[in-house]
Amino acid sequence: MADHKGVLVCGEAIEGKLAGVTAEMLGGGRKLADKLDEGLSVVLLGSGVKGLAAEAIACGADKVYVVDDPLLKDYQTDAYVMAMVNAVNQVAPRVVLMGQTSMGRDLAPRLAFRLQTALSMDCTELDIDAQSKALIQTRPVYGGNARAVFTTESLPQMATVRAKAMSPLPRDDARKGEVTDITAGIDASKIRAKFVQKVKEEVTGVKLEEAPAVIAGGRGLGGPDGFKQLEGLARLLKGAVGATRPAIDNGWVPTSIQVGLTGKIVAPELYIAIALSGSSQHMAGCSGSKTIVAINKDPEANIFREARFGIVADWKQALPAFTQKVQELLKE
């Protein structure tokens, strides 16, 4: 095992571009690789992904391994596990990083068990112990109520990384790197669970993850009509509407706007939390926001422990007045 070296990031593409979390992992992975005094590489799996190699190098990678195969066009567990086992065996990294995405959540545990190694999911901090070269893995646990720090002995050391937990490097197109093709080595007959089709749930307006302001509502809004009333404020602030898990589970709003541990992770400039208690599970998805503002009628609600500004008020009276005042102020 002594010949395991370097950090390997498992890259992802979204709509033909390098995913945000991949650039973030290259930023974080660069620091780990420099501490190890070893290389940083990235593996790009998919169909027609070679064009992203230059972008990955500009984001910090020394080496790019391209695994291009039509069988990798859509994410399928068995195909991706086979291709990653193949890539990891060839590259023999000390550390493997993946995004805590719908792919990473599915792929990383199966890959770790196949490779007989250990894995920490959803890490928010990673570091290297200078002496042992061990990967120090910090992750939120108990729905965000606590943090746990883990180390593992088997190689490669594996972790998935939460979105927005690490910072990408400033893009540098002058960086030099090496691009190598790897065969996928997929036995098509061993793909059991098969991708049939994708159904997109269209959300109009600003994308939640990219919105400068997020107006989030919870159980206290009482139903879909309550959420409708958030839209006006969201439009004013060029923001998007988010929701807590209970609102999703009650079917009030589409699942795609869930913010939290099991939903989307957002870090807008302004997060306005309306009629939501601020459970740890929810805060896990928005605690990176620059300013959190709370409107809640319960002065004991946990959200007031998380927010920077707040009012103790019933949202039904507060929201129209707040929206109107914001509109006036923005006109000035």
Binding site: A148, V149, T151, S154, F304, R305, G310, K325
Partner: protein
């Protein structure tokens, strides 16, 4: 259909965050006094997914839970909801495991159960949030897996799953036997009716000790861990919320907007 559901007893995640405590000496969570444990939220959704399939196609649901000092009223809840059989891997040796040792013990128990069509697990447990055990079981048993299911149907001997992705869902088809992890978007688990609670009271759980499932004790519980917990701690919260006051809700709201402008947030 023969359905298996893996469930875990956890400290109630809905307990107020202020009651959450960690003992730094042992690196363990101190359960809040007077708050009984529950079945992990997503595991209850997994039970619901199995029940819906049983409602549609008939069959039998076996629930498996691993731990020690399992509270009978808690782990019997799936029976009260409509599951048929409960197997408890209950022994001090099973305690303090990680994803590896837990998946190994559960996979050995499932081998002993024998034939099945689908194993259901929650997408992640409400305590350690690891999200690995289900996929670990699938890998150790060598069966296909589908994660983050919000809908599960049985069609022509195959399972058809709607799998949640950030901008919608994917439709995945898999042969059986397979393992499916379930997410909350599947919908609220049903309530246990009184009749179900009475029926569950009469069902004796089957207890399997490590020797009953033929596991190597070195590979389960704390001794089978592959991850070392260095530290467990509670992040420090600054908690400096500035509460804006007003004559009434509307006035406070308007003043809040002004304060945000003043602070250059707006």
């Amino acid at each position: 259909m023969e359905l298996i559901v893996c469930v875990k007893q956890v400290p109630d995640p809905e307990a107020p965050p202020a009651s959450f405590k960690v003992d730094p000496a042992t690196n363990k969570v101190v359960p809040p006094p007077g708050v009984p444990p529950v079945i992990s939220t997503f595991d209850e959704t997994a039970v619901e997914a199995a029940l819906r399939l049983k409602d549609a196609k008939g069959g039998k649901i076996t629930v498996v839970s691993l731990g020690n000092n399992l509270v009978r009223d808690v782990v019997k809840k799936p029976l009260a909801m409509g599951a048929d059989q409960l197997i408890l891997l209950e022994d001090p040796v099973y305690e303090n495991g990680d994803s590896w040792s837990t998946a190994y013990a559960l996979s050995m128990a499932i081998k002993k159960i024998g034939s099945f069509d689908i194993i259901f697990c929650g997408r992640q447990a409400a305590d350690w949030d690891a999200g690995q055990v289900g996929l670990g079981i699938a890998e150790l048993l060598g069966i296909p897996s589908i994660t983050l299911a919000k809908k599960v149907e049985s069609v022509d001997g195959k399972v058809k799953v709607e799998r949640i992705v950030p901008d919608g869902f994917e439709i995945i088809e898999s042969p059986t036997p397979c393992l499916i992890t379930v997410t909350n978007e599947l919908g609220e688990p049903r309530y246990a009716p009184l009749k179900g609670i009475m029926r569950a009271a009469k069902i004796q759980p089957t207890i399997w000790k490590p020797q009953d499932i033929g596991v190597d004790p070195a590979q389960i519980g704390a001794s089978g861990r592959r991850t070392k917990l260095v530290k467990l701690f509670q992040p420090v919260k600054e908690g400096k919320c500035e509460i804006v006051e007003g004559e009434n809700a509307a006035d406070a709201a308007a003043k809040l907007a002004l304060r945000l402008r003043e602070a250059k947030v707006l």
